[in-house]
Symmetry: C2
Subunit: 354 residues, 2 copies
């Protein structure tokens, strides 16, 4: 067994407190004694104060949690998530804090335990859809958190960093509408729980539960409503998850229709890239000319020439961590809206005349 602080104290012949001070408050004892204590500790192989015991007593841990809706392994597949994590990591690093990644993938009871047992001082909630319970657990634990998706039930003092999803989505949709597109599909993932992949009829956009997805779809709809295309005229398509494969599978049938949409607006770059994959797979002859847009502007988007909306991923992570690690005194400053920008590339063009 590893020696404890008590053992060191006994070896030197001082009290536990003094050994503790030797490590944590060097100014509280003479340099000579401190040296003797550290020497004895070295000799005994004492590895320094036990982190768990220390944080029990001190009341904080020294690490922040990042909560994911999706699987941990998936988080690393999504380039936007990776950039976000990089931002959180950079800020955490500056504060001398580590980051604990907490996935919510498994069945609720397990996932709940993970949130309950996470040894952290607070959470960055990357993307929580229906998992409202997770936020409740965090609140019950009395831990601070920063969320990145606007939620209806957010308290006024709740810290948040994100973008105006609806306005951003509207901007890219307006660009597409301006190019003359009227037969348009909107592609999103997990639009409703347990819906199959492919086209989906929804009487109103407000039925979409996930706040981010809802905001983006609503923004798309806004822009088209302005040119006289209303919700019922838009084709809503569901993908099973946020991956290229899922997106390609979701739109496959659509593209085979006699009159395929002339534009597909995707809720994320990853989905958009999947649509481009699906198009690229077709022989040039049967490849309908479809404009495609994404959302996020991940690094791959530039290479693929994807028209999209840029949002600062790393910045988002950085600010999330900073709002958590040193909260602004002013509640209003705890609510950060980041700028977005329409990035027009080659994947969108005017409607082909038929």
């Amino acid at each position: 067994m590893k020696p404890t602080l008590q053992a060191v104290a006994d070896a030197v012949g001082v009290s536990r407190s003094t050994v503790s001070n030797a490590y944590s408050r060097p100014d509280q004892l003479s340099a000579a004694l401190r040296e003797r204590i550290l020497d004895a500790a070295r000799q005994l192989g004492y590895p320094g104060p036990n982190p768990t015991a220390r944080s029990l007593r001190r009341g904080f841990v020294g690490s922040i949690g990042v909560l994911f809706t999706s699987q941990l392994s998936y988080a690393f597949t999504d380039p936007f998530a990776v950039r976000f994590l990089a931002g959180v990591g950079a800020a955490a690093e500056r504060h001398g804090t580590s980051m604990l990644l907490v996935p919510l993938s498994r069945a609720e009871p397990d996932a709940r335990r993970a949130v309950e047992n996470a040894a952290v001082d607070g959470f960055c909630v990357y993307c929580v859809a229906d998992e409202g319970w997770a936020l409740e657990v965090i609140r019950d634990r009395g831990l601070p958190f920063v969320s990145t998706a606007a939620r209806d039930d957010a308290g006024p003092d709740e810290r948040f960093v994100g973008i105006d999803e609806r306005a951003a989505a509207r901007s890219v949709a307006a660009h597409v509408a301006g190019l003359g597109h009227r037969r348009v599909a909107l592609l999103a993932h997990s639009v409703l729980p347990d819906v199959p992949a492919g086209p989906l009829t929804l009487s109103a956009v407000d039925q979409v539960p996930h706040p981010t997805t809802h905001g983006r779809l609503a923004g798309f709809a806004d822009a088209f409503a302005e040119v006289g295309v209303d919700w019922a005229d838009l084709t809503l398509v569901n993908a099973l998850d946020n991956s290229r494969q899922a997106a390609a599978a979701a739109v496959a049938g659509l593209l085979d229709r006699p009159a395929p949409p002339t534009a597909v607006l995707a809720g994320s770059d990853v989905l958009a890239l999947g649509v481009l994959d699906a198009l690229a797979e077709r022989p040039a002859g049967s490849r309908p000319p479809v404009s495609v847009t994404g959302f996020d502007d991940v690094p791959e988007a530039a290479a693929a020439g994807l028209t999209t909306v840029r949002q600062p991923a790393e910045e988002k992570g950085r600010i999330a961590a900073e709002l958590l690690l040193d909260p602004p005194a002013d509640a209003a400053a705890g609510h950060v809206l980041l700028p977005t920008a329409l990035v027009v590339r080659a994947s969108t063009g005017p409607v082909p005349r038929s």
Copy 2:
């Protein structure tokens, strides 16, 4: 203040132990009483057992640490590291364990504290160069760990997952040598501490401290020694870090020489991509025909047509975590060598006749 377990016990009129059992060992009390306890807890807003106190008593935490040499933010920039993390994450997830990312970037005293204070049950050491002290801290704490870089001072029971760096490097170098290349540059990062970017003279490959870098450079040298090109005839080039920018900067001068190398063997794909960047930047007229190879086979390598050595990144992470989470009884099984494969693409070709 949040209520404690004691408060719940008092409210129900039972002992602390019984409340504890209600949460952690439901079979130890009647269902009825358990229900009463949980009800009272809900009513009081008791969020369940405090994770810190629980892990102090139980002696384990339920999360594993991943130790990085480089900055945390950088870890997410390196595609190989990201894949590795994805693998660790997948395995951790299966075990119901979270992962704590611990960077070693800052000055040693701070970084040391980070390792000492990390609330984890063990470490995956992703890539520790000169930071031998970190391994000592881990050992002192009595924590298990798995390393991914072969080290000279590794004990026989030390768990390890990695590849035969030297043989793998040799295979790609043999391919290049077979194409006829004899004027060759080897590009690596942080070859020696505090060396500037650019060409560097080293009397022998054994002077390179970092085990991975050493293994790869030695492998390159092996293959060329076989065709009569010895160490002194190879140009060693240092990059400041493992990034495309650093690689491009490191080789810039080299490519401007009157007789530039006909091939550059890089110690990683990221570096190799940087060399390709540097070449692509030049006007076609002054662009020397240089074969370039990488190492790792990250996703970007395929797109860039980079000849490289494939090593299973995610697998490596997955196995590292698994060796940590359920250690094989057999010590030999704790030492895993993964297969590698030479992947020939368009970035290498025969020496141009001058």
